[in-house]
Structure formats: structure tokens, C-alpha cells
């Protein structure tokens, strides 16, 4: 498997950078989602900087792994991961959700090279990933397909159509990750529309179910390793996370699902993370050329 050769410590540091990016871009846009992007940051970092064979310099590489965020609203983390991984210059993050930028509120293939399929209407992404995985198998391509879903999204019926399909076609090259932060836009998932017992549901649909602490990098590395060894069954990682992770006043509060921090709040959050809004924005502004992540040359 291709690796950037990053240590756990380096991955943790990269995740911290991604969280800082998320806050800085939300502070600039004054629009967008905070909670889910911050809960998805750690497994997102493991995906982009360890697990997936992707090459931002060669987006159409026929051997590339494919990834798809069914939760299109977590663009702050998607774009931050892409920027840090070298898909585009980090300064672009400051154009998030703006007319002159190329970073739409929800992922758009034709605006942002590297996005495989546009998304934003919940419930559709796992089906898309099924198509990618099946098509790859039909062609005999050794590719893995990764799909990130939300826990509130599990309320969409189409998810279960896709769950049935993936197991029926034994798509063991497919790995889904659920950002299980237990919050959705209207409140606690269990109050809005309960999804428990979630692991049992997926087991019942004949999936290989893996549960992990979604903020513990070594645990996540192990979860993805375990998913990769599954034969004859698709895998789903229930990543137990905390909405708004890393920002004291956002953690575990559903009200942060769909709103950005004010500039003052973002500055406070960034200070909790060892920098400031001014300092981190300046870092993004300096970054005017895409740089493939450090160690990328070691990928093979």
C-alpha cells in the first residue's frame, strides 16, 4: 500500500493543521458548517495522508483509490484536507463559498478538480461508491473506494438500498466511514430519529463492521487496516466522534452543526490550538502554490 510514511505524531500534527484551516476558512466565509468538519478531521487525515493511494498531480491516475463524501456539507474539512495534501494552494481556502472562488458550498466536480462526483443531497453517496467499487472490480482494477457518511444521514432510505447492494455484490474493495458524532442539525440523533443499534443494522446487512474511536489516530490506522483485509464483504467503520472536536465551546453541541464561528470565536478557537486567526490566515495567504504533502515522494 502506498504510504506517505508519516508517523502517528505527524498525522496528529497534520490533523491539527486541518482543524486550523477549517476555522480560518469558516471565519473568512462567515458561512458553512463547523461541527461535522471538526468531527471528521482525524479519520479524514488518516484517509488522505496514510490510507488512500491518491496523487494530486495525477487526478486521472487509473490506479488511484477513489473517495467520495456523501456528507457534502463537510466541505470545510474536505477542502482543508485537499489543500494540505496538495490538490490546490492553501490560499484558495479563503475563497470558500465565494463567487470568485472555486470552492463551492458543497463539493462540485467541475469547480474543484479532484472531486470525483458532486454531492450535497444526503443519502446518495454510498450508492455512488458502490458504482465506483463495482466498476473497478469489473475492470479488474486493484482499487479501494472510500465513502464518508454522517450518522444523521443514516436516516435516508437510500443508504440501506446501497448497503444491500454492496453486500450482494460482495464489494470488499469498498470501505465506508460513518462520522458517528451523535448530533444532527435539529438536535441529538437519538431524539430526532433514532438510528441505534447502528452496528447491528450494518451487521444485519452483511457488512464487516468495525468500531473505533474516531479521534484516536492509532485506533483509526488499525481500523482501516482491518477493513482492507476483509474478503467478500464491504466494510464500514463506525468512527465514534465528537461534534466540533478540538474547540472547547463547540464540542458536543448540535447548534454548531451548520453555522460558522464569528471572527472572534474563530480567533479564540485558534488560540486554543496554539495559533491565532491572524497568524493562521497569513499562513494560508502565503501558500499560493499547491504543494504535495511532505513525504509524498515516498508513495509507491
Amino acid at each position: 500500500m502506498p504510504r506517505l510514511g508519516m508517523t502517528v505524531r505527524e498525522l496528529q500534527e497534520r490533523a491539527l493543521f486541518v482543524r486550523r484551516d477549517i476555522l480560518a476558512l469558516l471565519a473568512r466565509a462567515q458561512s458553512g458548517h463547523s461541527g461535522g468538519p471538526l468531527s471528521s478531521t482525524d479519520f479524514g487525515t488518516v484517509l488522505f495522508f496514510h490510507e488512500m493511494n491518491v496523487n494530486p498531480r495525477r487526478l486521472d491516475d487509473p490506479a488511484r483509490d477513489m473517495w467520495h463524501f456523501s456528507i457534502g456539507h463537510v466541505t470545510p474539512v474536505i477542502y482543508s484536507l485537499m489543500g494540505e495534501r496538495g490538490y490546490f494552494p492553501l490560499v484558495d481556502l479563503l475563497g470558500f463559498r465565494q463567487m470568485q472562488g472555486h470552492l463551492q458550498g458543497h463539493p462540485s466536480k467541475h469547480d474543484t478538480p479532484g472531486i470525483e462526483v458532486s454531492s450535497g443531497s444526503l443519502g446518495q453517496g454510498l450508492s455512488v461508491a458502490c458504482g465506483m467499487a463495482l466498476g473497478s472490480k469489473m475492470d479488474g482494477v486493484e482499487r479501494r473506494v472510500y465513502c464518508v457518511m454522517g450518522d444523521g444521514e443514516q436516516q435516508e432510505g437510500q443508504i440501506w438500498e446501497a448497503a444491500m447492494f454492496a453486500a450482494h455484490y460482495k464489494l470488499d474493495n469498498l470501505c465506508a466511514v460513518i462520522d458517528y458524532n451523535r448530533k444532527q442539525i435539529d438536535g441529538d440523533v437519538q431524539d430526532v430519529m433514532g438510528i441505534a443499534p447502528l452496528a447491528d443494522k450494518w451487521r444485519g446487512f452483511n457488512w464487516n463492521v468495525i468500531e473505533a474511536d474516531g479521534h484516536d489516530i492509532p485506533a483509526l490506522l488499525q481500523a482501516f487496516d482491518s477493513a482492507r483485509t476483509s474478503r467478500g464483504k464491504p466494510s464500514v467503520i463506525l468512527a465514534h466522534t465528537v461534534m466540533g472536536k478540538g474547540v472547547s465551546f463547540m464540542e458536543d453541541d448540535y447548534k454548531w452543526h451548520g453555522v460558522p464561528p464569528s471572527r472572534e470565536q474563530a480567533d479564540q478557537a485558534l488560540r486554543e490550538m496554539g495559533t491565532s486567526l491572524e497568524e493562521w490566515t497569513a499562513r494560508l495567504e502565503r501558500h499560493t502554490r499547491a504543494e504535495v504533502a511532505p513525504g509524498a515522494g515516498a508513495a509507491s
Binding site: H68, E116, V117, G131, S136, M164, H168
Partner: protein, 334 residues
């Protein structure tokens, strides 16, 4: 009134016995088109939602089982699986009833397929009221309105077996999403294997100068029958086969408006947002002339036989003739 125009029709309608036409199913054209493609292109795959027999994808399934994907009764999933296959380099054709393809999975078609602009080919079977006995739930009559309002989508409504077969093959070569609408019952064959077919280009089925009938799908035949009836009364009616409703052949429409001065549209579809609406949008902007719209007027279908239903819903040749008379009297009053 003028007689036969010197311009030759682009489709060989002259040899067709309108009173006793050969009858063939358009869905068979879809099935055979997929067979043609299966041989020609290894990247074509076919998905079906538990309707293999009635959409005629069984032909492909038997010949190319490795490229056939049964999805079960899950149209929303099917639309997005097709999108994923397209993203992985395939040219996926999916088949289900048009009522489901256009409505049940409309969001999936809009967001995942069309917004991403993936070459997903949607086969909407059992289009229109001519489905017959199944009744309103299965009679797709909103497809044109829905599909043509979505950016990047093309909407194709072929008129007969041969055209459906050609449209299916042509769709595979188009790098964008397409929707092909076809029907259940046998319908008159009005084109041949050699008739031209170009996406987005209307076929002139019959030259005429007093008014133009612009039709799609099975209504092309009805338009030809109406034109013959009008001819017997000394009225020269042009018949345009608008097999591609989007992108619309604005040039052919403008020419028809300019040269004929009156237009009747004919479709087996709701009047709201259908072919008639599309043509009207074009006509009012280019060259306004009196127009009459033959279509289903804002009501659900019902069970019955194909012919009974078409008559009951006012979309047979005599309805087109009456609409032509209305359009012509408005033209004369101008």
C-alpha cells in the same frame, strides 16, 4: 394552398402505409440498441431495477452477462450506482419505468448525475398514456418537464423502433447525461434503418407550408396521419419529428414559424412543461406565430386500451387536425 414542396423529407415516410403501418415496440429498439452497443463498446454496462423483461434489457443480459447489473427494486440506488460506474469509466445505461426514473430518482438524477455531468444514460420505459391498463401510477407523463428543466440533461423522445435503437446508440457517444423515453405497446414504424438521426436535430418527416406540426414520440405518426387528412382538404402541413426535446432544434422551429406561420405541437405528455411548452418558449423569442398544443391537459391517466386512452385524452390525429384548424383560423385573423 400550396401543394407538395420541392424539399425532400429527411426521413423515408413516402413508402409508409399510414393506414396499415408496420407495428413495432420502441422498447425493443432500446433492447436492440443496447445489443448493438454491447458489441461495439466494451465500456457499456446495463443496470436494471427488477424490470429486465419489460424494458427489454434481457437481450443484453443474455449476451453480455458480465456487464449486466441487477439492482433490484431500488431506483434511487440505481441512479447513483450508475453515476459511480460512470465516474469509474463506464457508460452505464439504466432501465426502469419512466414514471420511476423521472420522479422517484429525480433528486439523484439532478444532483449526482446531472450536476456532476456524468454520462449516465437513463432508459425510461413505458412512457406516456399508451402504457394502457396499468393506469395513472405507471403512465409517465411528466418526464419531459422534469428532465428538460435540469441543466446538462438531454431529453430524447424517439418516434418508433428504429429511432429508439439509433437514439440508444447515439446516447452512448454523448459524454453527457441523457434520458431516452420509450413505450410499451407496439407503435407504427415511420422511419427506417437508413433514416438520419442526429441528437438535437429535428427530422423533417413531411414538407409543408401552411402550418407545421411539431411532434415527438408516437405522436409523430399521429401528426403524419393528421397531415394527410389536412392535405385532402388542400392544407399543406409540415411535420417535424422533434425527437430531441432538449437541446431543442431552435433553427428548425424558427424556420417552421417563419415559413408556415402557424404551429401545432403534439406529445403524449402533460401540457405543462412538455414539448409544446419548449417549442412555445422558442417561438415567442424567435418568431411569434399562433400555436396550439395537443397534449394531456393537466390530468392523471387511467386504465384502458392504448387507442381508447389516446382518444379519451385528446391526443389522436383528429385532435391534431382540430388544433390545426384553430391555429390556421388564428393565423388568418392576424
Amino acid at each position: 394552398m400550396s401543394g407538395v414542396s420541392p424539399a425532400a423529407p429527411s426521413a423515408p415516410t413516402m413508402g409508409i402505409d399510414l393506414a396499415k403501418p408496420e407495428m413495432k415496440r420502441t422498447r425493443e429498439g432500446f433492447g436492440h440498441g443496447l445489443m448493438d452497443l454491447g458489441q461495439r463498446r466494451s465500456d457499456v454496462v446495463v443496470l436494471v431495477g427488477d424490470l429486465s423483461g419489460s424494458t427489454n434489457v434481457t437481450f443484453f443480459a443474455e449476451k453480455f452477462p458480465d456487464r449486466f447489473i441487477q439492482v433490484g427494486v431500488a431506483e434511487q440506488n440505481m441512479m447513483c450506482v450508475a453515476a459511480g460506474l460512470a465516474a469509474a469509466g463506464k457508460i452505464p445505461f439504466l432501465a426502469t419505468y419512466g414514471a420511476f426514473a423521472s420522479c422517484r430518482s429525480a433528486d439523484q438524477m439532478r444532483v449526482t448525475v446531472a450536476y456532476t455531468d456524468l454520462p449516465v444514460k437513463i432508459g425510461g420505459a413505458h412512457g406516456g398514456i399508451s402504457v394502457g391498463p396499468d393506469g395513472a401510477t405507471h403512465q409517465a407523463m411528466e418526464e419531459i418537464a422534469i428532465v428538460r428543466s435540469i441543466p446538462n440533461m438531454k431529453m430524447i423522445v424517439p418516434c418508433d423502433y428504429w429511432e429508439t435503437r439509433k437514439a440508444t446508440v447515439a446516447a452512448a457517444d454523448d459524454p453527457h447525461p441523457n434520458y431516452i423515453r420509450f413505450g410499451r405497446e407496439p407503435v407504427p414504424v415511420v422511419t427506417g434503418p437508413e433514416s438520419p438521426f442526429t441528437l438535437g436535430k429535428a427530422n423533417l418527416m413531411r414538407e409543408g407550408s401552411d402550418l407545421a406540426i411539431i411532434a415527438c414520440g408516437v405522436m409523430v405518426y399521429e401528426a403524419l396521419v393528421a397531415a394527410r387528412e389536412l392535405e385532402s382538404r388542400g392544407i399543406s402541413a409540415r411535420v417535424l419529428n422533434m425527437h430531441t426535446v432538449k437541446p431543442l432544434d431552435h433553427e428548425a422551429i424558427a424556420r417552421a414559424a417563419r415559413e408556415c406561420g402557424a404551429i401545432v405541437t403534439a406529445e403524449e405528455h402533460q401540457v405543462n412543461g412538455g414539448l409544446g411548452g419548449a417549442v412555445a418558449e422558442s417561438v415567442v423569442q424567435a418568431h411569434p406565430v399562433p400555436m396550439e398544443l395537443v397534449a394531456v391537459h393537466d390530468r392523471f391517466g387511467r386504465s384502458g386500451k392504448q387507442d381508447e386512452l389516446m382518444a379519451a385524452f385528446g391526443i389522436k390525429a383528429p385532435d391534431i387536425v382540430r388544433a390545426a384548424d384553430r391555429a390556421l383560423s388564428r393565423k388568418r385573423a392576424r
